[in-house]
Symmetry: C2
Subunit: 347 residues, 2 copies
């Protein structure tokens, strides 16, 4: 039997432990995995492109545990009331190849993306950072706000979105968050005085959410929305003034903000900073940019946290994804024996 | 919600409709998909190798439906009473990227491998083939025997395995199969007089299950067991006398019997025969070889059959792999709303 955690389990889990604790767990696990980054098998996503979107497989392994995320990206889905991104993931045992855990990852990916942003900012932003600007108030926005509150103590947000409905939704969801939120009429006004600027807009094009004059010395940029070829958010001149940090560079060169730069433009991988191999920010006047596109190891870390917490809280269900044990050479015997009784399976 | 078919559902389904009907359904679907082979997206397996085995992803798409199989191969598993190969699969909607169906594929892969063998033999063996030799009586053997009975009317088998326990298991499982089975003490005796020779042994090495003198004119060879680098069953001289048929040639060059041949040795892809583009057997004296290693499109066809039959028979369960619908920009609202009641989910 394989443990399955559905959306119901993940929602129940987060409600039991709270978003702050959830982000603490996710960031701690991701931090430990970034610190041992060279141990992981790293391959570019396996993508199946179609007219309206893409289906991607994101596998990795640390030699003991194998992790896989299945994720789609279909921007037009929202026209039909469907979600742009849905996902699920699995863990398997490398020694036997047996799957051990399957989980929803639509909600979980939102948690992991925000946790990764907060982890990067913890290592790259100025230690005295107090105010974050948040540009783009879509599906990822509340997760970013709450992750930065939990991990960096950010309690002051300056926010902007072109869509009034998204802004209302954000305001409704964050009303009791304990974060002081200032709603600004333009991105330019939102970023004024911010120590950290998070961009998480959704347009699939090369946009200029931030122009060069909007980013002053000492700022940490958390670029989340630019995450596929042809989709960027920052003006190229900002990149040229920034110290740039990536996850898995070969993938970021194709998908991240740095697709605007030469292929040999110097970048530092986040794991090098977290493991202590390389410095992050050199001074309080540096502009640091975390050029986030998402990588399989983050999903691996997240799945391990979800599995552990689901176990601890008695959530999840067993599903018969694998046959019962028996003579390995007698697979047909399973059919001859007939379907096991419902009562032999847990509910 | 996503439909899930577990091992219990697949076992129940096969018991309800019978193995013959199951193979008829699988071969009909696979035949239609082989006939439209150029429409499919074809990539080599995505493999994660480790000391004791491999975990593979096998994706494909016909532009409307996306299919994926997750499958492991761990020969040492049997030492611990575990299965060498386990698998599960999924179908997703290309237009939206949403997964729609998840199924066990440990049992189902055994069905699809035998169905593919029978489909190939239907197009490549002599029309008057009556007797099949079956070398190797492991997990796949009963499936091969029953597929060839259902699709080609083979009712006479000559069988051999080095392992008496495997032979006893085969005899027990096939006692009421309606197939006349002759047990022979050597592979050489088993193949004598056979019109079709199926090799499905498990040793992970370059073995010589069949030597050149054992294969006479007119025979169809169904080479199933040689399916990864360093694992072959047929002597190279047999290959040089045979007309060779493959699934996806770039993969077969690495994994199949033809890894023993030059990289430009002529082969014909099975879909070319099934679609009518190229001839199969030229005469009743040809030796034809189906160099089977398994390809993603076969799993795609099989998953579609299982989904359809599971629906028809009211089997399977809904699982909450995806969140409920709602404002796509309000993912966090799902968490705030709390976990849906158990009663809102089907059992």
């Amino acid at each position: 039997m394989v443990k399955f955690a559905g959306t119901r389990d993940v929602i129940e889990l987060v409600n039991r432990i709270g978003m702050a604790k959830m982000f603490e767990e996710l960031v701690a696990e991701a931090e430990a995995d970034f610190a041992r980054w060279p141990q992981f098998e790293k391959v570019a996503r396996v993508a199946s492109h179609s007219r309206d979107g893409v289906i991607e497989l994101m596998p990795t392994s640390d030699g003991e545990t194998y992790g896989l995320k299945f994720v789609n990206g279909h921007p037009k889905n929202t026209r039909d009331g469907l979600r742009t991104v849905t996902a699920f993931g699995l863990l398997a045992d490398v020694a036997t190849g047996y799957p051990t855990f399957i989980s929803e990852m639509t909600i979980t990916t939102a948690l992991r993306t925000a946790a990764t942003s907060a982890l990067a900012a913890k290592h790259l932003a100025r230690k005295d950072a107090k105010v974050m600007a948040l540009i783009g108030l879509g599906a990822q926005s509340e997760f970013q706000a709450l992750a930065f509150k939990a991990i960096l103590g950010i309690k002051s947000l300056r926010v902007f979105d072109v869509d009034p409905a998204a802004t209302r939704k954000f305001a409704r969801n964050m009303a009791d968050s304990g974060i002081a939120i200032t709603y600004l009429p333009t991105a330019e006004e939102a970023v004024t005085g911010a120590d950290i600027i998070t961009t998480v807009t959704a347009d699939k094009r090369n946009a200029t959410i931030l122009s060069d004059n909007m980013v002053g010395a000492g700022v940490h940029l958390n670029g989340v929305g630019g995450d596929c070829p042809g989709k960027t958010e920052l003006h190229r001149d900002i990149l040229l003034r920034s110290k740039i940090f990536t996850e898995f560079t070969p993938q970021t060169r194709i998908e991240g903000e740095i697709q605007q730069l030469d292929a040999d433009h110097p970048v530092t991988e986040l794991w090098e900073v977290i493991s202590g191999a390389k410095p992050g920010r050199d001074s309080d006047r540096d502009i640091t940019l975390f050029d986030s596109v998402g990588f399989a190891i983050e999903d691996f870390s997240t799945l391990r946290v979800i599995r552990r917490l689901v176990e601890q809280h008695g959530l999840g269900r067993e599903i018969d994804l694998l046959p019962e044990e028996g003579d390995p050479k007698d697979l047909y015997g399973l059919i001859r024996a007939g379907a096991p009784n419902e009562t032999k399976l847990s509910a």
